[in-house]
Symmetry: C2
Subunit: 228 residues, 2 copies
DNA sequence: ACCTGAACACCGTTCAAGT
DNA sequence: ACCTGAACACCGTTCAAGT
């Protein structure tokens, strides 16, 4: 008498009143990623949370890469929607960049997934935002593209490093602060002749502010524009 | 009479005359990665290539992340060793950055693995090189760190995008050129009101030069230094 | 059209047992 | 000390079968 109908009933008793859909799957994926990180997103865990079969997801989602990209897109879209314009184009760029930084820091899985979504919607959204602000700076089209893509690459680079840092910290069961101390400690024991710069960097690594350093990088690129 | 002894004999008939060692494992890992990409590096394939048991590798290598990081390190070390100094600090930075770009473009697996090696040796090597050149620019220590890490993040961002692009292209069995055309075609069909910048970018995306754009980004950061 | 869930073809990692 | 290879505990993805 139909496991099918029972499952269907079960699912509709859950929080989402409707049946399976692309949106409900993505929503569940984001919840899974947010609660326990990238490794928590498996088709088995996802189908259990949605009270469905693991194969059912493939009717709505092409594959895991598509799922991760869609999860990023949902978060990026929400993040962008919440950002206001700044008084000047440059301020808008700074505000936007910081919003992206905060979103990525709040969700380490996105720092890892975003760089892998090259050319896809979440990246398109970010590029469009950057481009819109860059456009107001009065540069040639060629220059607009160069600046916007340089910033995109910089943001994605920081995103990746952030994610990698958090990943190691989590696997060692320590927090960000202890992790930075551990890295600094390793760096300070490097050969003094071969690694003078990194050894000095180790000294102020523990107390540096990721967010401020990130913004300083954005400002560096913006200042390069004036000098051009 | 010992499978053990037989295996040992078999291994020593191979190209590497010595037994298993960290170096020989890393060398084999790089060869595997170079020939068939990231998915080709499995402990099973690696142990077969080395004529050993898959568990044996764990005597010399902590885990897969360690292996990937060590493979990156081997390539980065070789790449850096082959770079000469430029006539000025800025030229040195440009030369170094391009060498890294070329190394990453030649090995897409490294573009994906490098950003995941946060704080580890391959990153330390890159940071030290950048720092050494930045130091010659006569900035404060704080400024030196900001510039070097901004460049590192930018390079890693480009590396990640490059890897992601190549990964998609390979999975679709097309080359870089056709892939860029496919992305451009998708972008040009985006909503005109919501994505004006990306739509215009789509027009010159196919004929743009990744390497030149990358260098333009480095120059942008370098110019920001003058303006500061 | 949409869903089920067993089955397939893999993974990284461990570990008792060997030499 | 170093190596073997079966076993463990997972994966993503497919697909015949259901409704």
């Amino acid at each position: 008498m139909a496991k099918y109908a029972m499952k269907r009933k079960e699912r509709n008793n859950g929080s989402s009143s409707e049946g399976l859909s692309r949106e409900s799957i993505i929503e569940a994926a984001v919840a899974l990623l947010d609660s326990n990180g990238e490794s928590a997103l498996t088709f088995r865990a996802l189908s259990e949370r949605l009270s469905t079969g693991s194969g059912a997801i493939y009717w709505h989602i092409a594959n895991k890469s598509d799922l991760l990209s869609a999860a990023c897109d949902a978060v990026v879209a929400r993040t962008i929607a919440a950002i206001g314009h700044g008084p000047t184009p440059k301020e808008s760029i700074r505000t936007f960049s910081l919003a992206m930084f905060d979103a990525i820091e709040a969700r380490p899985w996105m720092g890892a997934a975003l760089p892998r979504a090259a050319g896809e919607m979440p990246i398109v959204r970010i590029l469009e935002c950057l481009g819109g602000h860059v456009r107001a700076l009065g540069l040639s089209e060629q220059q607009q593209w160069l600046v916007a893509s340089a910033m995109l690459n910089y943001i994605l680079g920081v995103a990746g490093q952030n994610a990698a840092n958090m990943h190691v910290a989590m696997s060692k069961q320590i927090d960000r602060h202890d992790f930075l101390h551990a890295v600094a400690s390793t760096w300070s024991r490097l050969d003094a002749d071969a690694y003078p710069f990194v050894r000095r960097a180790a000294e102020f690594l523990p107390q540096h502010n990721d967010r401020e350093d990130f913004l300083a990088g954005i400002d560096l690129i913006l200042r390069g524009l004036d000098a051009g």
